[in-house]
Subunit: 256 residues, 2 copies
């Protein structure tokens, strides 16, 4: 049975997509079979793997709104052992459409269950909000991976996110736990980053991974080439950090 | 009659809140009477001015959901001529609540009309999505200010945003125009930033302000002190850039 993890944080631009794309790649290169689900209408995880978003092709929208089985939607990413369910622009209207539906929070959960046995790890990239798409992801998965940017505004939103996770655990998904929190875009030259990192560890304790992702321009260049950093700049600080994070995530999963 | 401007971009972390807080401050210091509306459930603009988000106090949620008049909700920011309508955590549930309401896209527009004559400029900080809160803002205002981070993923979302603006203009708000686009977090040492900036100017032409906001650590430190950068670090690169942007925005508004 594969483990399903949502990568979520309602604060925008904290590194959710960058973490999903690069962590998934490292896990696949290390031998896991991995599925990435791009649940963000922006479709950044889809383009991060160089997959074209083609308006005609079926996407995660057809699954969430029309109940189309997930397995049939998976497309290759060019990385062995790593498949993707692409986003589509239509997803931008999904939250309003979902609001009027029956069992609106459990639509993704129903589709994910039959898919789990086919993969070792399923990673869901969430949009920057706590709306019905993110709630669907939190309801469907085993755990939540929380990227936290080493910035003040990003720190503010953590308690709201933890609160939402607790609500989902109480009402929709009793097994939901925190997989871990990863500090991202850490610039060791600034006091702000050091202060925020210390505060995050104070709040979340050993939920926070040892691995910290540094600010690295290679990480932000890689998507413009449609490739994860492990393939674009394998010797960069960014690639090294996501390799270490992948090892830490796998070690923790093995101990559960 | 005051000019109402929404600061919007569904891409997360591109500098929407930083632009609203610091542009509003410059306009107020230059003598305009300014109202900031924090329409983001995260409430970063509210804390950017050092205003406590108190669960009991009335907020923009009460306006959008219960029709409470906006003027009564305005609180001081400590900056002469600058008032704020604060966000609240309850706003996180507003999009789902709005989905089932009559005239759900026009609720903010109806409340904003009687407020316009009291201010020279009204700036609305939007959440990172194209959901009903952002659509309410786009329906209520004269124009949209678009911060665009000098990064690849941020570039991808611009056409989706322009498309949404056109849809709102056709169906909900015929006067809606683009106030301007501002390039943010520009790091002149990276080719990526230079390439993205050139691409943005290629797409949007003279809608893009001359002023480019550089990456500046003072800008990200200021919110942890609850003060705009003009008060926290008035001689920093960030404060200077937002002063120039303010002058450019005022000059363009005067010529309309
Ligand atoms: N460690 C890093 N160093 C430098 N740049 C980074 C790093 N991580 C992410 N970035 C860049 O920062 C921007 C934001 O990251 P990303 O898009 O992954 O965040 P997100 O949380 O998925 O955003 P959204 O909330 O819009 O979905 C992107 O342009 C990305 O390329
Ligand atoms: N020019 C800049 N230089 C350095 N840091 C910046 C700059 N502009 C914004 N920041 C920092 O980058 C982060 C993202 O900016 P901000 O929160 O204003 O973006 P946003 O678009 O409002 O995000 P969201 O999509 O979550 O609402 C914040 O931590 C902010 O302090
Ligand atoms: Mg993302
Ligand atoms: Mg913001």
């Amino acid at each position: 049975m594969g483990r399903a993890i949502a990568c979520a944080n309602q604060k925008g631009g904290v590194g959710k997509t960058t973490t999903v794309v690069n962590l998934a790649t490292h896990l696949a290169l290390a031998g896991d079979s991995v599925l990435v689900v791009d649940l963000d209408p922006q479709g950044n995880a889809t383009s991060g793997f160089g997959v074209e978003r083609n308006g005609q092709a079926a996407s995660v929208y057809d699954a969430v709104i029309d109940g189309v089985p997930l397995l049939g939607l998976a497309v290759p990413t060019g990385i062995a052992g790593l498949s993707l369910i692409a986003s589509s622009v239509a997803l931008a209207g999904a939250e309003v459409e979902l609001a009027g539906m029956d069992q609106r929070e459990r639509r993704l959960w129903r589709l994910l269950e039959p898919t789990r046995s086919r993969f070792d790890v399923i990673l869901i990239d969430c949009p920057p909000s706590l709306g019905l798409l993110t709630v669907n992801a939190l309801t469907a998965v085993d755990s939540v991976l929380i990227p936290i940017q080493a910035e003040y505004y990003a720190l503010e939103g953590v308690s709201q996110l933890i609160g939402t996770i607790q609500l989902v655990r109480e009402h929709l998904n009793p097994r939901l736990e925190i997989e871990g929190a990863v500090i991202t875009m850490f610039d060791s030259r600034t006091n702000l980053a050091t202060d925020v990192a210390a505060e995050v560890r104070g709040h979340l304790g050993d939920k926070v991974y040892e691995t910290v992702i540094p600010r690295s321009v290679r990480l932000s260049e890689a998507p413009s080439h449609g490739r994860p950093v492990a393939l674009y700049a394998p010797n960069s600080k960014g690639a090294e950090a996501y390799r270490r994070l992948g090892d830490e995530v796998r070690a923790r999963m093995a101990h559960r």
